[in-house]
Symmetry: none
């Protein structure tokens, strides 16, 4: 796992393990931690590292292949495809989830729209400026 992503699994979750693997890789792609053309770990490698059955990893990779996120080249490995549209929609989905959770939280706290926008713009600038030259472990 020297790659730019890690697969953290929750074995207590009701969400199937293979889906969790897909989620993690989608997330890494959306965040540019995995880029077009990059090779994923081999199925065996990942299975060992994540301590799951190789079949589980294979199912995850097959799902991603079907959704067009990766392509598997026999004898070579599995690679992130170069598909701008897919990437954009991935990012859109994740942004949507993030914003949705965020809004629910601030609504529960009783913040008005104006307050939220204020906080968001302020914090956006603050964090962005602080990011210069920093390592990017924003998980």
């Amino acid at each position: 796992m020297t790659d730019g992503f890690q697969v953290k699994l929750d074995f207590d979750s009701t969400r199937p393990i293979y889906m969790q693997i897909v989620d993690e890789i989608k997330r890494a792609v959306a965040r540019n931690l995995l880029v077009s053309g990059e090779k994923l770990p081999s199925q065996r490698e990942l299975a060992e590292a994540a301590r799951v059955n190789p079949n589980t990893v294979q199912r995850a990779y097959r799902e991603m292949e079907m959704m067009g996120l990766v392509e598997t080249r026999r004898g070579e490995g599995t690679f992130i495809r170069d598909d701008e549209n897919l990437l954009a929609s991935l990012r859109g989905e994740m942004a949507q989830v993030a914003v949705d959770n965020f809004i629910r939280q601030v609504l529960a706290l009783g913040l008005t729209e104006a307050e939220v926008v204020k906080l968001v713009t302020t914090q956006y600038r603050e964090i962005q400026s602080g990011k210069r030259g920093e390592q990017d472990d924003v998980r």
Copy 2:
């Protein structure tokens, strides 16, 4: 369990259990799931429900007493105090954490400030309008 809050603990976390209890109750107060004057479960009740030692619950309650969040009356129980300033700062803290996490996520996705603001305002209105008469379990 009939209360407006639940205490979910992660026994694997490095965060001490008593702090997790405090966190949960602070959160419930910030969200108005627990309001001024309301009685918390007795130390023994909560200890049993959360499957922790009564001493652990007591430590949590004592911490909250010291920070002025609750008031404990011997022989009667522990109650949420009425302190507007404290409540406001609690909400401020939680909003800050929420916005901070959110911004880090969207920055990792490469969204611009304008895009973020757009998403936020759109979603704010959407979720708020959908909230009418709904139950509020947004955890």
Copy 3:
């Protein structure tokens, strides 16, 4: 025992032991028997010396930490903090209690204000002059 203070506990008192420990240390600090930066005995040491449970000592130390009197550094120990304001207010409190008790005594004896002031000034000078080079155990 080589420290400048001793913790004498009254196990029959209704005052909790951990508070008695706090009282004693506050007194020692107010009297400069313990000074800024000085290390308190470790929790286990004091527990053994005072024949109480380590948890009881810890509670005392935690209280003092919260009131800002001491600073505890994990793996190192607990130290008197350097806080002039706190020290002054500690001394003020203790002086207040002493003067209060004293006045009640002399009032009960029927002394007038003038008589009291006379006694106080005379005795102040007498005791102070006798103090030169004496050991200071005025408990």
Copy 4:
């Protein structure tokens, strides 16, 4: 013990019990809780109340008789004598002890003479004014 004084004994003290009884009665006299002509409890009564041997009480009463504080009239009981000089010296002694302890305390706290006098005069007036119509349990 409907009288204006109580005899509290410390059986762990090194000070003999009979002296402690004398001390307590001297204190009550100095404070006008026992006045000239007043009858002390009978030796048996006091022995029973204080849970000591009647001989011990007798010794205490004998001491006080010798110092001129009380007189015993066979068949009647023991009474506080009317001796202004003795009373004055009793009060003087007690005042001396009180002031001595007090000065040692405030010296240990580092108060200057001026500060002490200031505190004493302020507190004298405060307590005295607060005393009006109050019950006088200043022990």
